[in-house]
Symmetry: C3
Subunit: 210 residues, 3 copies
C-alpha cells in the first residue's frame, strides 16, 4: 500500500465519519448512514477521477469501501459519547478536506494535467465530498457558510502541493506535511471564526426572495 493510498483511505474515513455523524444527527437509519458516509468519503474522488478520465479508484480498489463501513459502525456504537455532533462533524470534515485537497492535486498532476487544472481539481476533490453530503442531506452547504472560510484551506493545500511538485520537492513527507498544515489552518479558522469579505460586503444579508 502506497503512502498516497494510505492517506486517501484516511481522508475517506474522516469524510465518512462526518457523513455518518450527520446521518445520526438527522435520525437516518444505519444503511442511510453507510450510504451518506460513502458518498461523502468517496464522492469527491469519484468526481476527480471522472474528470481526469481515469477509472474511479473507489470502484477499482474496493478497499476504499472499508473506510465508510468502519465509520458507520463506529458512529452507530460510539456517537452516544459525542456531546456536540456539529463540532465533531466539522473536525472530521476538516481532516477529509486536508487530505483530499492534497491527494486530489497530486492525482491530477500525476495524470499530466496542467497546474491550474490540477489545483482546481484538488480543491474540487477536497470540497466535493462535503458538498455532496450537504446537498443530498438537503441542508445549506458548509462550503457556502459565510461565517466560515471553508474553501480557503483547500486552495492553500492545492497551491502548496503544486508548488512543491514543480520545485521537484514533492514526496510522501511533503504530502503529509501539507495535509497537516491545511488541517491545522482549517481547525484554527473554525476556533477563531476567521472570515473573508462577502461576495458583496455592503449587501445586507437576507433570505433568497426567488
Amino acid at each position: 500500500m502506497t503512502w498516497a493510498l494510505a492517506l486517501d483511505l484516511l481522508g475517506t474515513f474522516f469524510f465518512a465519519i462526518s457523513g455518518s455523524l450527520l446521518a445520526a444527527q438527522r435520525g437516518f437509519d444505519i444503511v442511510a448512514s453507510l450510504l451518506l458516509g460513502s458518498l461523502t468519503g468517496l464522492g469527491g474522488g469519484v468526481i476527480r477521477d471522472v474528470i481526469i478520465g481515469a477509472p474511479p479508484a473507489a470502484f477499482a480498489e474496493p478497499i476504499h469501501f472499508v473506510a465508510p463501513a468502519l465509520a458507520a459502525v463506529l458512529v452507530f456504537f460510539l456517537s452516544g459519547l459525542v456531546q456536540r455532533f456539529s463540532r465533531t462533524l466539522l473536525v472530521f470534515d476538516a481532516g477529509g478536506l486536508a487530505v483530499f485537497c492534497t491527494t486530489g492535486t497530486v492525482t491530477a498532476l500525476s495524470a499530466g494535467m496542467n497546474p491550474v487544472a490540477a489545483i482546481l481539481l484538488g480543491v474540487t476533490t477536497g470540497v466535493g465530498g462535503g458538498l455532496l453530503r450537504d446537498v443530498v442531506a438537503n441542508r445549506d452547504p458548509q462550503l457556502f457558510n459565510p461565517r466560515d472560510l471553508y474553501a480557503v484551506p483547500a486552495f492553500l493545500g492545492a497551491v502548496l502541493i503544486a508548488g512543491l511538485w514543480y520545485l521537484g520537492w514533492y514526496g510522501p513527507v511533503a504530502l503529509y506535511a501539507v495535509a497537516v498544515v491545511v488541517f491545522v489552518f482549517r481547525v484554527l479558522s473554525l476556533k477563531f471564526g476567521w472570515r473573508i469579505p462577502h461576495a458583496h460586503g455592503s449587501w445586507p444579508r437576507h433570505p433568497d426572495p426567488a
Copy 2:
C-alpha cells in the same frame, strides 16, 4: 431488443413516472415534468455508465427517451385519476429500484468490474435516479427516510445477481426473477413499515442545528 434492454426501458419508465408524478404534485409544468422524469429515469444509468467508463446508454440509444416522454404524457392526462400521489409515486419508484439494482449490477459485471464494485454500482444505479429526483426537487431524499428501508432491497437485488452470476446461473429468467423479488420486498416493506436500526439508535431525532 435484448431482455436486458427491455427491462432497462421498463425501469426507466417506472422511475420517470415517479419523477413526473412528483412534478405534478409540486405544480411544475409539462416540460419540467418531462425533465424531472428523464433525470429520474435515466440519471442512475448515466452515473453507472460514466463510472464504468462506457458511453451512457441513454444517449447512445435514444430509444431510452421514449420512456420519460410516455411517462410525462400519461401523468399529464391520467394523474387526475390518481387519488394518492405519494403512495403511487412510491410504488413506481419501487419498480424502478427493483429493475435498476439488478440491471446495474449486470452491466457492471459484464464490463468486467470486481464483484464488490459491481454490487455497489448496482445499488448506485438503483438509488441514484430517485436521489437525483429528490435532490433537484429540493426535498428530503426518500433514500434517507428513517421510516423506510429504501436501500436494503437494492443491496439484496445486487447481491443476489452477483451471486447468481458467479454461480453461472445468471440469465434472463434469473434477472427478471430477482427484479420481482426486490419489487415485492420493497412494496411489502412499505406496506408493513419495516425498519432497521437508526445510525445511532439512542440519539433523539431533531432538525439539523448547523
Copy 3:
C-alpha cells in the same frame, strides 16, 4: 481562439455572474462566490463533456476559469449598483442558457452523437449549470419554476442548431444568430410571463406532503 470558444467563454461569464449574484444575495463570501460562479458557468459543460467522453474543456483549457474569476470580482465591486438582483440574475442566466444550449448541441454533433442525443445534450448543457447552482444553493431550481418556461428556449435553440447542422447551413453566423434568438425568446418569456400547461393542469398546487 475559435468563434465557438469565444461564445463558450461568454456563456461561462453570463452563468458565472448569475452564480456570483446569487452568492451575494445569500450573503456568501467572495470565495464561495467564485466557487458558485465557477460551478454555474462550467458545470453544464463538464457534464456534457463527461457524457460525451471527452476531457472536460474547462480543465483542459484553464482559460475557462478566467470568466468566473472576472464575474466574482465584478459582482464584488459592482453589485451595489444593481438594484434588483433576482431580475438581473435571470437576465444573465438567460444569456448563459442561450449560449450553452447552442454550443452544447454543436459540441455533441461534432463528437458524432446522434441528433436526438445531441439535442438532449444541448438542453442538458444549457440548463445544467443553473440547475447545479440552484441545487447546491439549496433553493427550488428556476428550471422547475411553474411560472416560467425555462427549458423551452433551450429546446428551441438545440433543435434549431441540429436542423441547421443537418441542412448544412451551420456556421459561426448561424451559431450566434440562434443564440440571440434563444436569448430574446427567453427574456420576452420572462417579461410577459409566458407559460405552458402544468404537468397536470387540474391538479391543485400544494407543498410536497412527503
